[in-house]
Symmetry: C2
């Protein structure tokens, strides 16, 4: 390992803005540190997996000074600390943490629909997911957000990792990306929509989205 | 709401030592604060759910000074902070967080087996889960633990929420509680077994297990 590798920070995840890594990428960008944005394709990922170097056999992975760390929310919390997007107050952190954890509740049900290979059955499972799981989940999230009147963000008066996470989850579920999950399913939740707009208007997020990529 | 309720801390979860709440109960016990250990039965839970007061429609719920918080890992992190079972150092916290998050990877696959109503199909799904998901997961956990030579615990030289979480997950998966998951499936992972023993020998855990219950 070279001295450069020893000192480096690298985040590896597939080339799409999914909630499991995009909030961490943006936090690293906002933190203003020097880091590598690695985006393996399927083939590279399989090679990484085979080599046994992925901490939990999956992505994202954050490498800090030659040591690898896994688990999206653990990584997000660390990157959030670097960027002052994670509260130091324990009760504020609890509020941020519960919203960062909430998408896992969806994944428990959505996972089975992802693995279903029969297209008709998949669509059926997705429709049931949207109606029975996603719809009440969105009501819970909306109600949690309504507890905060201080700003358009989820917790306190500035953006946190909870906002970046919810924003990416909602854009994924609401934009008609998943067959069987109706486009606009979250549109009626106005507090959540305010959060989405506030994140997209945030200077750091805009700077990330307008960055030069090569 | 009375002044007593305003000041109180209450943790509500079903009456079994599952990893989603038992680590938090133990942390509150170790923290030595005054708290209520509420254990609703199925009927009480359904009434709570109907009343719309559960933050995400599920348990555990932590109530602090009349405000409710949800999500097991968020609650665990907060209780861990109260008991000094969660590191203040960001890199140590990252290590603890990744191990606290890791069980969610299993739940994504286990969830579908829980909801399966056909007993034969359930057993088949469980066997596939044990072989294809749990077995490699245990190897990853064992390898993560081997990175720490400082003690029998997962991170640093003392017990953290990562240990309490892994201990409860492993006792649940290894004790033959889930049909189709072979008893002793984690026995070959000696580092993990050392962790389990260290947790069970811990003074605070013993004090919790030997407490007077009424």
């Amino acid at each position: 390992m070279t001295i450069g590798e020893m000192m480096s920070t690298k985040l590896s995840y597939f080339n799409f803005p999914f909630w499991r890594a995009e909030p961490s990428r943006i936090a690293l960008h906002i933190a203003g540190i020097d880091w590598t944005d690695e985006r393996p394709n399927r083939e590279m990922f399989m090679a990484m997996k085979q080599s046994g170097t992925l901490p939990f056999g999956q992505l994202p992975v954050l490498e800090i000074q030659g040591v690898s760390y896994g688990q999206s929310n653990a990584i997000a919390r660390y990157c959030g600390r670097l960027a002052n997007l994670y509260p130091t107050d324990a009760l504020q952190a609890l509020r941020v943490d519960e919203l960062m954890s909430a998408p896992e509740d969806l994944m428990i049900y959505l996972g089975a629909t992802m693995r279903e290979t029969d297209p008709e059955r998949k669509l059926e499972l997705r429709r049931a997911f949207a109606q029975e799981r996603l719809t009440p989940w969105l009501v819970h999230i909306e109600n949690r957000l309504l507890l905060n009147q201080e700003s358009d963000f989820a917790v306190g008066d500035s953006m946190t990792m909870a906002d970046l996470t919810l924003w990416r989850v909602i854009r994924w579920l609401n934009d008609g990306i998943l067959d069987g999950v109706p486009k606009g399913i979250a549109d009626g939740h106005l507090r959540l929509q305010r959060l989405v707009c506030a994140v997209e208007d945030h200077e750091g997020v805009q700077s990330w989205q307008n960055r030069e990529t090569n």
